[in-house]
Amino acid sequence: MEAMKRLSDHMSTRVTELTRMRENGTKLVAYAPGGYMPEELVLACGAVPVGLIRGGDPEPVAESAAYVPRFIDTFCRSQIGYRMLGEEPLYQMFDLLVVPVTDQNIKTIADCFNFFAGANVFRYGVPHQKDEHAFEYYLAGLQALKAKLEEFTGNKIEDGRLREAIDLCNRMRELLKGISLLRRSERPLVTGLEFAKLNHASFVADRTVFTEALESIQRSLGERPPSGAKGPRILLTGSTLAMGDYKVLEIAEDAGATIVVEEFAEGVRHYWENVQADGDLMEALADRYFRRRVPPAWFRPSRERLDYLIELAKDFNVDGIIWYQLMYRSSYDIQAFYFEKMLKKELNIPMLKIESDYDVSERGPLRTRIETFVEIIRAGGGS
């Protein structure tokens, strides 16, 4: 596909391009990718947003042990490792790191970047429930972020520019959603792995270039033949799906399953909702990124997320769920316990819970478990 090729070329030269932009005075604003960071604010002040979403490699996890004991979520330890190893350019070259603090794991990234790397870090909080006080708190955090970005870049965030940025991001989300929804068909036109890679590219690519690429991709997908054999349809959910951590997708699709939809707290761009820019724009951002964002497992009560997962499973007509969590993300570990019972009761489909610490030795046992799960579904297990 020509558009995919163009996007791939863009991604391979992106770091060089960003380096040149920085040399010319453009600020690079990195952020922790939990879905609570409105990129629109960064774009509106003339800076470039970059999500730090790399994961799946064992070396950064090992490196992080010099700075933080191992009982922190694997993805979060990886972020510390990538920075301290000094091998991933995007982790070295940003001018400001923004961390919307969702839980202690994410907070640890901010603390370690502050203390051990001397990085410029800005935090704001994400409350764990959705009453009006929580909304106000999140909004106050966004206002503080806006002030920080204005002071940091020297550019005022005017409504006009913010509206343009919202329009761009809305268009990008709409396109991702449109492509994702193609997977509702019986024989999806795009695989789970392809979609995950596309989604991940959205965190690093130039947003205009990326949006144009998505438009071309969506058009060309219509001409593409459907995927091969009809395999079990899987909903993949969990704490973090990082860029580079594709083992579950690869193994499942090798085993003949199709990942038709994914839902993760971190690492993937959330595209179901758009910003409704018809009133105060900051409130509109808070409305989209906090109030209407499907909450992760650390929200209480947990029902909104669980009901959403059930609806997603129905909507995409899935045959089973793979619950993929990283080590020591306790909220997901606990929620898996009662979600599995709920799933059995409401949809009577099976769930496979798997954990990873980004260790290469996991791949063999994971393959066995996922292949067995796919076989169980094929044999009618769970129904």
Binding site: A66, Y67, V68, P69, F71, I72, V101, D103, Q104, N105, K107, T108, D111, C112, N114, F115, F116, V121, F122, R123, Y124, G125, V126, P127, H128, Q129, D131, H133, A134, E136, Y137, A140, G141, A297, W298, R300, P301, S302, R303, M327, Y328, S330, S331, D333, I334, Q335, F337, Y338, K341, M342, E355
Partner: protein
């Protein structure tokens, strides 16, 4: 069978007689038999300063609360639970607004740890039950919440009618209570907050952070009133404020007395029994204060007489091992010849005790997390350093509870900062504050002994 044990725990003979049927019932439910009682007596004599009346009074409060907790549902219409990190003031003010005969308030995890753990060393069945019912082993879940869940699902203690839980300091309590809600239908009120201060914010107030915690406290009080059918009263707030301030200030005085005495007059393991009542809502407010006053006088007398549990001139250390389930680890550190001058949460630093501008009760509660350790890693490290400085220690032992994701990120920062700023060594020990199955005194002893040797040599070199 248990008379000697209860005497060691400060009970008078007539009280034992009067409470016999309740004790029998509670011990029956808990499965405490003769062997456990013998073990309890041995542990009390081995690890704690039970010759001190003040300590025995504290032990009596814990043992009474254990019996009250087990029988709570039989004896009360409503049962309300909380646990760490919820602070005492919201619990106590709500508790004092209710009828003692109708509503029972407790922090069950703490009560069980201080009795079934400290005294009987019999937590494993609860922890295993917690692991099997949603907080699995091997995932670094907080053992405090495994224990309390396990105690409920095994029927040792009742399920509550309401749970009040705080999410400042750590995530796990709220996560575990979600499970309690989803699986067992327990209503839960959360005192939500965000650990989001920027580096450099502390120790300044952030008004919207305080107001948010205050709004959550208001919501929590509202839920209490609705479920318990009572109203938070001004009288209860005043009584709480007064009792809390008097107790904490006296406790602070005791901590200073012990921390600056040479030789160390009592074990820090004994002091823990007074400390944990800082967060346990007992209705025996007077008994608790009286126990503290007695203990203070006894310690003062020991200091004046030059009596101690370690040698005079022993190297002093700051430790972070506030272990509620097992006095053995702190005692082991003391037995290696180190004087434990201070443990992290015992002492209120000047930042924590300073005045604040809030007058509404819920907002005043919201101030707590903004001044103390829960504020940020930066605060946690700074308070650790200040503890070392204030008590002029020769070294520090950073015993970090491995499953505590608030604590874990501070470990290497604390080590680096103390060694850099104060020039004293820091020993990092991985452990668990609520579960000794994987980390007990025997396993940690060799490393502590080596550290003690190092500190003694350094002190001798300094003196010469």
């Amino acid at each position: 069978m248990y008379t000697e044990l209860f005497k060691l725990c400060g009970f008078e003979a007539d009280e034992i007689q009067k409470e016999r049927s309740r004790i029998d019932r509670a011990f029956g439910i808990l499965g405490i038999g003769e062997e456990d009682i013998k073990r309890g007596e041995t542990r009390l004599k081995r690890y704690l300063d039970v010759e001190l009346l003040g300590l025995r009074r504290f032990l009596a409060i814990w043992m009474r609360e254990l019996v009250n907790l087990v029988l709570a549902k039989e004896e009360h219409e409503k049962v309300v639970y909380s646990d760490f990190p919820m602070e005492l003031r919201p619990l106590m003010s709500m508790m004092l607004s209710t009828d003692e005969r109708k509503v029972y308030f407790a922090t069950p995890g703490t009560i069980i740890n201080m009795t079934m753990g400290q005294i009987f060393d019999k937590l494993a069945p609860f922890q295993e039950a917690g692991e099997e019912n949603g907080l699995p082993a091997g995932s670094a879940h907080c053992a405090l919440y495994q224990t309390r869940l396990g105690a409920m699902v095994t029927g040792a203690i009742p399920f509550p009618d309401l749970s009040l839980i705080a999410s400042y300091h750590c995530d796990q309590p709220s996560e575990a209570e979600q499970l309690l809600h989803e699986v067992y239908g327990v209503p839960v009120a959360y005192l939500d907050s965000c650990a989001d201060p920027n580096w450099g914010d502390w120790p300044e107030f952030n008004d919207y952070r305080v107001r948010y915690a205050g709004s959550q406290a208001r919501k929590m009080f509202g839920m209490c009133e609705e479920i318990l059918g009572c109203k938070l009263t001004e009288e209860a707030i005043r009584a709480t404020n007064r009792a809390n301030a008097i107790y904490r200030l006296k406790f602070q005085e005791l901590v200073e007395l012990i921390g600056h005495a040479d030789p160390q007059p009592i074990s820090q393991a004994s002091l823990a029994h007074a400390f944990f009542l800082n967060s346990m809502p007992t209705r025996d407010v007077e008994g608790k204060q009286e126990a503290l006053e007695i203990l203070f006088e006894e310690v003062k007398q020991r200091v004046e007489e030059g009596k101690g549990i370690v040698e005079k001139g022993a190297p002093g250390v700051f430790i972070t091992a506030t272990i509620s389930v097992d006095p053995g680890i702190v005692r082991m550190i003391e037995e290696t010849g180190l004087a434990v001058r201070i443990q992290i949460p015992f002492w209120l630093s000047h930042w924590v005790v300073r005045k604040h501008p809030y007058t509404e009760w819920p907002d005043m509660i919201g101030v707590g997390p903004c001044l103390d350790v829960p504020h940020s890693c930066e605060a946690h490290v700074a308070i650790n350093v200040e503890n070392c400085r204030h008590f002029n220690v020769d070294g520090a032992i950073d015993f970090y509870p491995y499953s505590c994701r608030e604590w874990v990120p501070t470990v290497m920062m604390t080590k680096k900062t103390i060694e850099r700023d104060l020039g004293i060594p820091v020993l990092v020990l991985e452990g668990d504050a609520y579960d000794t199955r994987n980390y007990n005194a025997g396993q940690l002893r060799t490393r502590v002994e080596t550290f003690a040797e190092l500190l003694r040599a350094a002190k001798a070199a300094k003196a010469s």
